[in-house]
Amino acid sequence: MNTLDTDVLVIGGGSTGAGVAWDSALRGLHVTLVDRQDFATGTSGRFHGLLHSGGRYAVKDPGSARECAAENRILRQVAADCLEDTGGLFVSTPEDDLEYADRFLAAAGAAGMEIEEIPVGVALRDEPRLNPKIRRAFRVQDGSIDSWKMISALLRGAQAHGATVLPYHKVVRVIRQGDRVEGAVMEDQRTGEEVQVNAGCVVNAAGAWSGQVAQLAGCEVGVRPGKGVMVAINHRLARAVLNRCHMPSDGDIIVPVRTVSVIGTTDHPVADPDDTECSPEEVHQMIEAGELLVPGFKESRALRVWSGSRPLLPKTEGSAGAGDREVSRSHTVLDHGARDGLEGLVTIAGGKFTTLRLMAEDTVDVVVGKLGRGAECRTRTEVLPGSESHRFYWIGNRQQEAETDPPDDPLICECELVSQHDLDTVVARRPSWRLDDIRRALRVGMGPCQGGFCAFRVAGMLHQEGRYGRAEANSALREFVQERWKGVKVISWGAQARQTRLDRWIFEGVYDLEHLPE
């Protein structure tokens, strides 16, 4: 068995774990991060992409609102390339209580948010598809986050400071010496080989799965997975993030992110965070809810459906300030030494993508205290790789790049303007990739055709370059087609139903994919 020694072992490669890795590495600690799958495949890669202004929590959860408002400002400084500065609107639809709008305005100010009430006419001029019956409108600093880009930047930054990152390494045992956690044993999900990592401190950053990881160490973490369903609509229906100005509920946010608009979300407690099935009822609930913000929403082309599990933290586990809610969207660092008498293990529980930096800072502060070394936190000012120019991403970026510096290689994905060069650059970063990992890195297969044209190209090219063997290429293609199907099967209507027919014609009719040898 391979053995590695490290200061900090981080379990979980979502936004939280990647943030902890970046923070630890900047403090001069050696950090090793592991995930059972590829990075950003859990909740972080399955959210709506909203960079919160804090508005959503202003009335209900003022502590979270304050954190969001502050972290939003910091991320704009250090991670511009991963963000889009869309701005946001909170609007009172005919179904929303106008009195709530007054409470909202006061609470937003108290939380330190930048907020401005604008005339309804101005809101409708800026957002022509917005419901013309809205009665009040507030401009806030919402934005959108590309979660894959963000996590990739955090990990590349950490690696540049000496971090080791191991995707597809699932924790199978936590190493304990009496009342002390000293590391963990991981199984490489691709090869079956085991790797032992001896660590000065282990950070459980497994989010909705942190209860499962804690159990391996022999303690309990009461995180409750809360499933949320989202639907991506082709096109950007709005320039800014649109929020209903009311007590947060289901389907009341539309986020313009990259080439799509995402509507979210729901909140159903689930026993297993891997339960990502979306029912037709949940999808229809989202589509109907969208009508209230954008009339005609349900006539738009729905591209894909997915769900993710929030790591909700019951109040008994949470810190103060969670208000009158059963669960908090704030985070808590659980020091299992103080809490359970089990040294060497820290769990970061709860929280949300927007506050990932603060969550990491709070966690690594505890880790540094335990290790007795490590510098001050630097993530408030240290700029992430790719964001050095402080320019926000915008939807025209890829097109602009292609026009100013025309590539001399073919496009492999017309929907998302991905060139063969982009593919080569990404696959060179690490030795093995699944097609789905490449999708997250490049957005290949995420456009209207949902992989109908590009999946075959990518599989064929990677086989030709020797990165895939024959059987691997076949199964990669089958697996990708299967994975894409999960997200389109419950939205078989309109143009997307037509697209699924064309894709089927290609996969079954032209390739005879179902009769390929294994």
């Binding site: 729905a302 073919p410 099967k489 078989s492 027919r501 064309l502 079954e508 032209v510 005879d512």
Partner: protein, 417 residues
């Protein structure tokens, strides 16, 4: 001058019906919202490939297949009529050199290297029947995104034709002159119509050829002059050359479409593309005219008989609403799921709810209304419009279109007489 017959849809079914009607002396107008389905199609004429086991003799196995799938559109046509429609197609498409028989499934490689059963293929693909095994050199074109010769060859070498014969396959890659940013099938097809480019390809292949090998190339051997391009390449190489279909846009599909359009024009018929049928006028159970939106205005086109060949959801003949409502767009004919499941299944490569969806018809191929009676006495449906088939899984689409289009023309002609 009036129109005898209006055909809605310019895919295989619509074109077959139109050509048959025109050949019988009718004045025919074909209307299509887009450009018709043929440019997407590999242009191989399938009859029945899987039921779900591999079918060896499609015509002989149709009866047994229908016992297990009584709602299948093949129920509407006698085996003799299926055979007659294919015979007729072979004759009609003689300039493209179609070969094959409805009694034999040829096994032709796909772009991924599966062996796909089909009955008729154009001459440019004729040497690619590997049911008796063979040695194949698969030739890739550098920079062409839609054809990956190494993967194709490696998969093909593992294919097992029922004859038990061995298939050997290997691949080479050849560079063609041209802007690598734009190596699309249309561009490659045009380039290969240039003699020097083709000569270079021929020399390259020949220099890397081993004895007794067949040569498989992507289906981009020219557009207008494909037969000549294929013939010359075969001469240059000195071995049988065959095309392997690539994903859309399909050059063989466009060749077939142009051929069928021309054949119809020669018979006095007309194809009007970009013309969406938006409604109709009827008198009792007789359809009098269809309304068509073209150049931003609506016109009414009266005729004696009408063929509905607009296809299913894939081509817009039928639409699905977010509320689950299914609608045949022109006449509001009754739509059925043809015995497919109501809820999507977990496995993608399984029968899905939309797979068999289509218009319900009586035994005379007349679309039914909500009450289960034929909508009109002079409207017949054909091809992918019909409910009950899984054309891509079964490899049956063209056969259904040929046979039901052929029969629709006979029924429509009969009424006119």
């Amino acid at each position: 001058m009036g129109t005898d017959a209006v055909v809605l849809g310019a895919g295989t079914a619509g074109m077959v019906a139109a050509l048959r009607l025109a050949a019988a002396g009718a004045s025919v107008l074909v209307l299509a919202e887009g450009e018709g389905g043929l440019p997407l199609a590999p242009a191989q004429m399938d009859v029945l490939g899987y039921r779900p086991q591999l079918v060896l003799d499609p015509l002989a196995e149709l009866g047994g297949f229908l016992e297990s799938r009584p709602d299948h559109p093949y129920r509407l046509v006698e085996a003799d009529e299926v055979a007659a429609s294919l015979e007729w197609f072979l004759e009609l498409s003689a300039p493209l050199g179609y070969v094959g028989s409805p009694h034999i499934n040829r096994l032709q490689p796909t772009a991924l290297g599966a062996l796909r059963p089909t009955c008729l293929v154009p001459q440019t693909m004729a040497a690619g029947d590997l049911s008796g095994g063979g040695s194949v050199l698969v030739v890739g074109l550098r920079g062409f995104r839609d054809f990956h010769a190494p993967l194709l060859a490696e998969n093909l070498a593992l294919a097992n034709p029922p004859s038990g014969a061995e298939i050997r396959a290997r691949s080479v890659e050849v560079s063609l002159l041209g802007d690598p940013r734009d190596l699309r099938p249309q561009l490659l097809a045009r380039r290969l119509e240039e003699r020097p480019v083709l000569a270079e390809l021929g020399r390259e292949i020949r220099s890397r050829l081993e004895q007794e090998e067949l040569v498989g190339v992507p289906a981009v051997l020219g557009l207008e002059r494909s037969h000549e391009v294929w013939q010359r390449l075969q001469d240059l190489v000195g071995r049988p050359v065959f095309e392997i279909p690539t994903p859309p846009p399909s050059q063989p599909g466009q060749r077939l479409q142009q051929h069928l359009f021309r054949a119809l024009r020669r018979l006095g018929g007309e194809v009007r593309l970009g013309a969406r049928a938006s409604g109709y006028r009827a008198s009792g159970d007789r359809l009098e005219a269809v309304r068509v939106v073209t150049a931003a205005r609506e016109v009414e086109i009266p005729a004696d008989s009408f063929v509905l060949a607009t296809g299913g959801i894939g081509t817009g003949g039928i639409t699905a609403g977010s509320d689950g409502e299914l609608r045949e767009e022109v006449f509001g004919a009754r739509v059925s799921r043809g015995g497919a499941p109501d809820e999507p299944l977990v496995e993608y490569l399984a029968t899905q709810p939309l797979d068999r969806l289509g218009v319900e018809v009586d035994d005379q191929q007349r679309p039914l209304g909500a009450g289960g009676e034929p909508l009109f006495e002079n409207l017949w449906a054909a091809g992918a419009t019909l409910a009950g088939a899984e054309p891509w899984r079964e490899k049956s689409g063209e056969g259904i279109s040929l046979a039901t289009g052929f029969r629709a023309a006979r029924l429509a002609g009969g009424v006119r007489a």
